[in-house]
């Protein structure tokens, strides 16, 4: 299978996973807040294929796809959202705050920007533990305005720590356009100012993402510290389920849907290949969903375990 086809398939897996979660949410099997990453799949897919086993990903609440791209089985993700015993955290994390360290996925975070300093800590550990770990943290454009993110970037820069900062710039923070919230829409400039090599890339192209992350990993591996990647993308779904997206200017969503990574790469590879990639993803996720739904709910009597050792 060509790399492009592999990427397309990996992106379809995420898309179908998210569609499935949406359906489960609307059906009431999944409850509470759910944040989908439809349209942004190329970043997780491009990045994760350049990460090694020893690397660690720290994502936001919009993290299902990152977990999947990192290798977490879809069944375990779905089971988590369905609060099953087989979920990665037995349902304690839920959609917005689960982790699966055995797959190098160190967790979502529902506090905007809070994962960045934690990723820096994982990189700090690497300085001493001989793991060769690179820590990758992903956050949104809006998170750039959370002070802790600047603190984290500066600490990583000052200490030459092996971190990759990935900013998924989807142009919105919830319902608010980033360009109304900053003077300088070039967010990578902030990393530059801290002395961090920074690039702005097309986040809807998995190959471009992979190239940038690959370089960042090499930079980190060689002790040259952090890299910042601003990946332009668009979410083609609401921020949360139920978000009517009235804040979008007329025509924007339609344009975004034409430029979304699955459409783009699908057109490039042709309908036949694209359909095959999609179908394989659908079959896999459907089977995973069935298994997840069949698993028993986590036993309520375990609710108070694991608070302390």
């Amino acid at each position: 299978m060509s790399q492009e086809l592999a990427d397309l398939h990996a992106m379809w897996r995420i898309r179908v996973l998210e569609e499935t979660i949406l359906r489960l949410r609307l059906d009431g099997d999944v409850v509470g807040s759910v944040h989908l990453e439809n349209g942004q799949e190329a970043i997780a897919v491009g990045a994760c294929r350049r990460l090694r086993k020893q690397d660690a990903v720290f994502s936001t609440y919009r993290g299902h796809g990152w977990a999947l791209a990192r290798g977490v089985p879809p069944e375990k993700i779905l089971a988590e959202l369905l609060y099953r015993r087989t979920g990665v955290n037995g349902g304690r994390g839920g959609s917005a705050h689960f982790s699966a360290p055995e797959y190098g996925f160190y967790g979502e975070n529902s506090i905007v920007g809070a994962g960045a300093p934690i990723a820096v800590g994982a990189a700090l550990a690497a300085k001493f533990d001989g793991s060769g770990r690179v820590a990758l943290t992903v956050f949104g454009d809006g998170a750039m305005n959370q002070g802790g993110v600047t603190e984290a970037m500066n600490l990583a820069a000052a200490m030459d720590l092996p971190v990759v900062f990935v900013c998924e710039n989807n142009k919105y923070s919830e319902l608010t356009p980033i360009n109304d919230m900053v003077r300088n829409p070039d967010l990578s400039a902030r990393a530059h100012a801290l002395g961090i090599p920074a690039v702005r890339i097309d986040g809807n192209d998995p190959a471009e993402v992979a190239a940038a992350v690959g370089l960042a990993v090499t930079t980190a591996e060689h002790g040259r510290g952090p890299t910042f990647i601003e990946a332009a993308t668009r979410r083609i779904t609401g921020h949360y389920i139920g978000d009517a997206q009235t804040y979008r200017p007329a025509g924007e969503l339609e344009a975004d849907e034409k430029n979304e990574p699955l459409v783009r790469l699908g057109q490039k590879l042709g309908e036949a290949q694209a359909q095959k990639a999609e179908q394989r993803a659908r079959d896999e996720i459907a089977a995973a969903t069935e298994r997840a739904l069949a698993a028993p709910l986590t036993d309520p009597s375990t609710a108070r375990e694991h608070l302390y050792v």
Partner: protein, 323 residues
């Protein structure tokens, strides 16, 4: 001039904010997504349109937002800032505890910070540990900050206005599970009351139940289900807290139960128990608190239920104490 309107809890807050913006030209209203989008829960809908630039959206910068509120308040504005979830206060807690709370005292009264922080807290089905906490106790240990916690639409309206009109920092803690509930008759346009006071939700003779926040309805349900004759005192203002009202009730009933959704250890229930027992009011039975069992809050609904106080637990306590 007072009239009534049928309003949800969220609608009542919206009405109170509109009136504040209308009648107090020094008010400002800001926060993440509050202006053009009208708030992630729709509570501030229409206010930007009606009141223009005094209502604005901010970056995701709680420290800057709260600091800006302190600075604007010091200068005579009356900022109303929304922190979308109480959990998010913690990225910027310094601006509340070390800044806002100190303004009047440290300046020897030369400065004041008439600011209102609107936030909402608590668990809702499926919410993760970082979106479920009840944090009022942290604020209540901080002198210099007032705290209100409305549950009924009328209180949401009244307390919001009292908070905005207060010349000290007030945190109004709302609850997102209430925003879109049933509409109720709300008296609007009346006099703005000073801060303070409580609400007597049930009147009875055998036990005093002190509670606050959304769990008040579970307390009412438990009282109604058990038929226990209980004074149910809802502490809509937690600072100032109406200690006298609680003592007067316990003096009559001889029993005290405190119920809150917040984690038991170090919750404000302990303070209520301490004040009552220190007072020497005779008790027929030891006081009791019902709160969340010391734990983080799991997303899984069936697990969260084990941790958070439920109506049957409250009912059991009522029965055991009055047996």
């Amino acid at each position: 001039m007072s009239e009534t309107a049928k309003l949800t809890y969220g609608g009542a807050i919206n009405a109170a904010l509109a009136r504040s913006l209308d009648q107090m030209p020094e008010t400002l209203l800001f926060g993440e997504d509050v202006a053009l989008p009208g708030g992630v829960f729709g509570v501030t809908r229409g206010l930007r349109k009606a009141y223009g630039e005094r209502v604005f959206d901010t970056p995701i910068s709680e420290t800057a937002m709260l600091g800006a509120a302190v600075g604007a308040a010091i200068m005579g504005r009356r900022p109303i800032v929304e922190i979308m979830w109480a959990d998010f206060m913690l990225v910027a807690f310094d601006q509340i505890v070390n800044q806002a709370a100190n303004v009047r005292y440290v300046s020897e009264g030369r400065l004041s910070a008439p600011m209102t922080i609107r936030t909402q807290q608590g668990n809702a089905p499926g919410a993760c540990a970082q979106h479920s906490q009840n944090l009022e106790a942290l604020l209540l240990h901080v002198p210099g900050i007032r705290v209100a916690m409305p549950v009924q639409a009328q209180d949401a309206y009244d307390l919001t206005l009292s908070a905005v009109a207060c010349d000290d920092p007030v945190v109004v803690i709302e609850n997102r599970t209430l925003y879109a509930g049933a509409k109720a008759e709300v008296q609007i346009g009346g006099q703005i009351a000073p801060i303070g006071g409580h609400r007597l939700r049930r009147a009875g003779d055998d036990i005093t139940v002190v509670t606050w926040g959304a769990i008040t309805s579970s307390v009412e349900a438990a009282v109604d289900a058990t038929g226990v004759s209980a004074d149910v005192i809802e502490a809509v203002w937690l600072n100032p807290f109406d200690t006298e009202a609680v003592l007067a009730s316990v003096r009559r009933t001889g029993r005290l139960l405190v119920v809150h959704e917040a984690n038991l250890t170090g919750g404000f229930g302990a303070e209520v128990v301490a004040r009552v027992t220190e007072s020497g009011v005779p008790l027929k039975t030891p006081p009791k608190r019902v709160g969340a069992k010391d734990s983080r809050i799991p997303a899984a609904v069936q697990l969260a239920r084990e941790v958070l106080p439920q109506t049957d637990e409250i009912a059991a306590a009522l029965k055991a104490m009055t047996r």
